[in-house]
């Protein structure tokens, strides 16, 4: 019986169109945040402006991909001193590098039901390969939600390397928290 049901399910799946779904982000319910420390005190911030091209199908991970482009000038901490510093030449250098981006090269499924995204992360003029796990909820009705968090070493991206390469003031590790709510394009 079980085998018959599985066979029926597989037949149904293969009958579905092979093209993976394109998702549209709901910016009001999505966020990309970052946090770190300055002189031992925690700060948090968010990117107010970013766009994502998401093509995803759990049954077709090879055909799934995502590209996220961040407006570096939109990084906001709510602290006037930090917000005045972030756009400057030694930090995000928004005049020379108005955007940062992540482009996936592979998405793989993990045993625990989560996924791992691997891709190229570009900040300033540095592009490094990063790999991070994300969880995904794909309800039959309602939008999909993906969550991820990763730790980045700002020094590896040339951020604040003239001011504070050793991290004596601004901690070298910046935690990035991603929460994306998106609906498939009809």
């Amino acid at each position: 019986m079980k085998i018959a049901a599985l066979a029926a399910a597989l037949a149904l799946l293969s009958a579905l169109p092979a093209a993976a779904a394109t998702y549209v982000v709901d910016p009001a319910r999505s966020s990309v945040g970052f946090s770190g420390t300055n002189s031992g005190e925690a700060f948090t911030g968010t990117f107010k402006s970013w766009t994502a091209d998401i093509v995803f199908d759990p049954a077709d991970l090879a055909g799934s991909h995502l590209k996220v482009v961040f407006d570096t000038a939109s990084a906001t901490t709510g602290n006037a001193m930090y917000d005045g510093t972030l756009p400057q030449a030694d930090w995000f250098a928004v005049k020379d590098y108005p955007t940062a981006s992540f482009t996936s090269t592979a998405i793989t499924a993990n045993a625990d039901g989560s996924y791992t995204a691997t891709g190229k992360l570009q900040i300033r003029n540095v592009t490094n390969e990063v790999s991070f796990p994300f969880t995904l909820s794909l309800p039959a009705n309602g939008p999909a939600e993906a969550k991820a968090s990763l730790n980045l070493n700002r020094v590896a991206y040339g951020i604040g390397v003239q001011s504070d390469p050793a991290g004596g003031w601004v901690g070298p590790y910046i935690a990035v928290t991603i929460d994306v709510v998106a609906t498939p394009k009809p």
Binding site: S39, G40, A80, M81, A89, D90, W91, S163
Partner: protein, 189 residues
């Protein structure tokens, strides 16, 4: 009989003592920032506080010099020998120059710093950077050196200023301090 030119104007007296307190706080916080064994969190806050108070000292110094030009200082008391009068005038001139040069060199340090931290005066409003020198390490280094040596010179000049007051009170037995305090009537018989 009130001799009008006997003491400083009330507003000048107020500025003198407010700035005296501010400058002592600036010197103390500056030396603690440069040499004190304090944690980064306190040091960072102290830097921002020092920058904020420095802006106020610069504005107060400009106001004070303007007042000095408009109101004129009372003549030096007659009991002082000529060399003391010359030293007093030179010392006062040095203090005026330093109370402008200290905040200006500090302002240049902050403006040229590669760190690029803005100056938010006591968290209330942003004081602009000196334009055109952002991230210039050579300018920052020169201004830093000047700020340090001028601070030492200021500490020495203030010590001389206070020593002179003590000398006039203890040795000359003249209440010279009354010239720099609020009141009516002649300061000296």
């Amino acid at each position: 009989m009130t001799k009008p030119a006997d003491r400083y104007a009330g507003i000048a007296v107020a500025l003198h003592w407010v700035m005296a307190l501010a400058i002592l706080l600036m010197l103390a916080s500056g030396f603690v920032m440069a040499f004190g064994d304090i944690g980064p969190s306190l040091k960072f806050r102290l830097y921002q506080w020092h920058k904020s108070l420095g802006v106020l000292v610069l504005v107060a110094a400009a106001l004070r010099i303007l007042l000095r030009l408009v109101l004129k200082a009372p003549a030096l008391p007659g009991f002082m020998p000529a060399w003391e009068a010359r030293a007093a005038k030179a010392g006062h001139l040095a203090l005026y120059v330093l109370m402008v040069a200290m905040p200006v060199t500090g302002w240049i340090v902050v403006s040229a710093s590669v760190f690029g931290l803005p100056t938010i005066v006591f968290g209330l409003f942003e004081w602009p950077h000196v334009p055109g020198i952002a991230g210039d390490a050579a300018v920052e280094g020169a201004a830093k050196g000047a700020h340090f040596w001028l601070a030492l010179l200021m500490a020495v000049t203030i010590a001389g200023h206070i020593a002179a007051v003590i000398k006039h009170i203890v040795i000359d037995r003249e209440n010279i301090l009354a010239r720099m305090w609020w009141g009516r009537g002649r300061t000296m018989p």
